[in-house]
């Protein structure tokens, strides 16, 4: 943490009230640097990058005798798109995102978001940050922006790792959409990028929730555990049929709607609902975090 303090205090020292915009950018930059230089963050990204590698190698071994993946039964088990990987490596991107979105990705976001405020409080650095005339609102916004940046980076890490592994192990080329029509490889790549962006946006809700939890406690571990716990609880509740009236309002309910981008024509209904829910969670928990953080007694 000592380096973080130096960087932040340096930034705070340079900043004066009149150059507030530049100053905000400075805080954001130093915040991004501290976050992405942490071993913890790098380890999380490494774990995420490893998932597509494992999936790719598993599929390669499974199908090395010429058998087709997932063709064994009518149920076609495993994550979405897995049966297509052997024919087109690009599908590994979709499979990897479908495999990591329910748990790995939001867990990583929960760790980063939960740690955002509570971690600083825990390490005793929060009051130093607040000594600077940035104001709590701006600090909170910076923290949230950093978490969102992590959402995007984490998703892209999964996608790029999957694309690399897919290109190395499997053939690439024209692909068949799940509606049965054909699209060119370039268009497939474009859709893959779009899907990665949608997946990153799907994590906005968890990020806001984690940030709110983070303002409630002074223990970084407690905030991370609570966020990840909430994530698991919501995922379980989403499986209980009796709660179907509530389920459309769970942040994770429409997560897998990103697959609708692989239909031809694209089926937008659920995608729009998903983005709407994420925006709602961001607004509710973002403002709740703001209400809490700007009125909180900072003791550490």
């Amino acid at each position: 943490m000592s380096r973080a303090e130096v960087v932040r205090q340096g930034a705070a020292g340079e900043g004066t009230r009149k150059v507030s915009l530049l100053w905000t950018f400075g805080v954001l930059r130093s915040e991004l640097l501290t976050t992405f230089r942490r071993w913890r963050t790098l380890a999380l990204l490494a774990v995420l990058a490893a998932v597509p590698i494992l999936v790719g190698i598993a599929v390669k071994i499974e199908t090395s005798d010429g058998a087709s993946m997932g063709g064994g039964g009518p149920q076609g088990g495993g994550p979405a798109f897995i049966s297509q990987i052997t024919n087109n490596g690009l599908f590994l991107v979709f499979t990897a995102l479908a495999a990591t979105l329910p748990f790995f990705l939001p867990m990583a976001i929960g760790v980063i978001a939960g740690d955002a405020i509570a971690g600083e409080a825990n390490a005793g650095t929060l009051r130093y940050l607040l000594v600077a005339p940035a104001g709590r609102t701006r600090l909170l916004l910076t923290k949230y922006a950093t978490t969102m940046a992590f959402c995007l980076v984490a998703t892209l890490v999964v996608a790029i790792s999957a694309l690399t592994v897919g290109a190395l192990l499997f053939p690439l080329g024209e692909l068949t959409t799940i509606s049965g029509t054909r699209i060119s490889f370039a268009e497939g790549l474009g859709r893959a990028l779009l899907i990665a962006l949608v997946v990153a946006a799907s994590l906005i809700g968890v990020a806001a929730l984690g940030l709110f939890v983070s303002t409630l406690t002074n223990s970084g571990i407690a905030a991370m555990a609570t966020t990840v716990g909430l994530l698991i609880t919501v995922q379980i509740l989403d499986q209980i049929p009796q709660l179907h009236a509530l389920q459309p309002y769970f942040f994770s309910h429409y997560w897998l709607s990103f697959a609708d981008l692989m239909r031809e024509p694209v089926y937008w209904d659920d995608l729009v609902k998903n983005l709407g829910i994420q925006a709602l969670y961001a607004a509710v928990f973002g403002s709740a975090a703001w209400a809490r953080f700007t009125t909180k007694d900072i003791t550490a």
Binding site: G71, P74, Q84, P133, R138, T181
Partner: protein, 434 residues
């Protein structure tokens, strides 16, 4: 983002120096609460506001409307159909699926998951989203949207392709040119299929009226109300929303006589009468996909859409109305009245009692009927008993299995009476059959 910015300057100065009072603390929480409130209001009110009331259309008689449907010559359309089926079957969940897949595994060894007859019966329960695209008689496409996968049935010229993207399996059959939508024979899926089947049943046992107008998929539509005049049927009313411009049925709702939610509710949520892109109907099996030819399956499954053999029917009933139920259900819709499909059945096919809505089909399984719970014993016995009601009459005794639309009486001497009628009517039919 607005709330942050607007308060920024004051908080930045105020909060560092002195702590806000309790009242000010609480005031901040008004923001998230307001956001929740606005969101709830939006979710609650926007559909109500968007539903701008029934459109104002010129008056029309039921005959004119039916003629309009008959004359409807929509050749090209694409749209999204939402279909909800609620037969009131006990939700067997995993157990039902287990039974169904068990039966499937034993029945058709290595059948393809892309086989249309296997796939479309899924429509018999729950809510599904379908996509339909039609361009003339030779090009149709029907897609069943599933979680992160899709089942497409494409008819293009001579070829009928079924593609299951989940298992990457392809089913290939042939259709005669210009025969027009072989797939539609299997299970009615679009509102039009349903409406045509229902209109076949129209005669003196039925009242048909125009019941106002409605907005369906953003289009103005007339509502056609079809009601059975007879008592004893479980069908309460059938409502068909007919597009005022094209005469195309846009929505089909079947409500049971017992009231409550619709048994079938199938309607377009989005529809366009423009020509769909030609590429929509192009299909070449993807590399590495397992392709099953129709001929390979015929030996095992029998032809699609052909009347069910006794054995199969019995198996279904034994399966406690498993998923296959949908097929019979589709036939049932094809008309208690017309009954021609049933009538044409080869020997061993069902015999028909009654007329109009009160038609009851009779199958003689020649078997023992359903074992009672006591015979089977244990948990399974209790389970069987919970599904059916014991009835007795002049015919002897039997068990009635109920859904919200179709009821079945299985007598102890192995006869099966099935119809969209209530329990008493079934017993009466059984009595008269004696």
């Amino acid at each position: 983002m607005a709330p942050y910015e607007s308060d920024d300057s004051t908080t930045a100065v105020g909060e560092v120096d002195d702590l806000p009072s309790g009242r000010r603390k609480a005031a901040r929480y008004v923001v998230p609460v307001t956001v929740v409130g606005v969101a709830a209001a939006t979710i609650g009110l926007v559909p109500a506001i968007a539903d701008s009331g029934d459109p104002d259309l010129p008056k029309i008689t039921a005959e004119q409307l039916i003629e309009k449907i008959a004359q409807s010559d929509v050749e090209q359309l694409s749209g999204t159909v939402k279909i909800s089926t609620d037969l009131g079957l006990p939700d067997l969940g995993g157990l039902g699926a287990g039974l169904a897949s068990g039966a499937m595994a034993s029945g058709s060894g290595d059948g393809s998951s892309a086989d249309p007859s296997a796939k479309l019966t899924e429509l018999a329960s729950g809510t599904h989203t379908l996509r339909v695209a039609v361009d003339g008689e030779n090009k149709q496409k029907l897609s069943l949207l599933e979680n992160a996968s899709e089942y497409s049935l494409i008819h293009n010229g001579k070829d009928v392709w079924g593609y299951d993207s989940k298992s990457n399996e392809v089913f290939h059959g042939t259709a005669e040119e210009a025969k027009g939508g072989q797939e539609k024979q299997d299970v009615p899926a679009t509102p039009k299929d349903f409406a045509e089947a229902a209109l076949k049943a129209v005669d003196d046992t039925t009242s048909v009226t125009v019941d106002g107008t409605a907005q369906v998929a953003g289009r103005d539509a007339y509502q056609l109300l079809i009601k059975p005049k007879q008592s004893g049927t479980t069908v309460g009313a059938i409502t068909v929303a007919v597009d005022a411009k094209t005469g195309m049925p846009l929505k089909f709702t079947l409500t049971p006589a017992s009231g409550g939610a619709a048994v079938i509710d199938a309607g377009f949520t989005q529809v366009s009468f423009a020509k769909p892109a030609a590429s929509t109907f192009d299909f070449t099996p993807p590399k590495g996909a397992k392709v099953t030819e129709e001929d390979e399956l015929e030996g095992k499954d029998g032809e699609n859409g052909s009347p069910k053999s006794e054995d199969e029917l019995r198996k279904e009933l034994d399966n406690e109305f498993g998923k296959d139920f949908g097929k019979d259900f589709g036939k049932e819709l094809d008309g208690p009245k017309s009954g021609d499909k049933l009538g044409k059945a080869p020997e061993g096919g069902p015999e028909v009692i009654g007329e109009g809505w009160n038609t009851v089909a009779v199958f003689d399984t020649g078997g023992e009927g359903v074992p009672s719970g006591a015979e089977v014993g244990g948990e399974m016995g209790g389970f069987l008993d919970s599904l059916g009601d014991k009835v007795t009459g002049k015919f002897g005794s039997g068990t009635v299995f109920k859904t919200r639309l179709i009821n079945a009486l299985i007598t102890d001497d192995g006869k099966v009476y099935v119809g969209a009628v209530d329990k008493d009517a079934l017993v009466k039919a059984a009595d008269s059959g004696k």
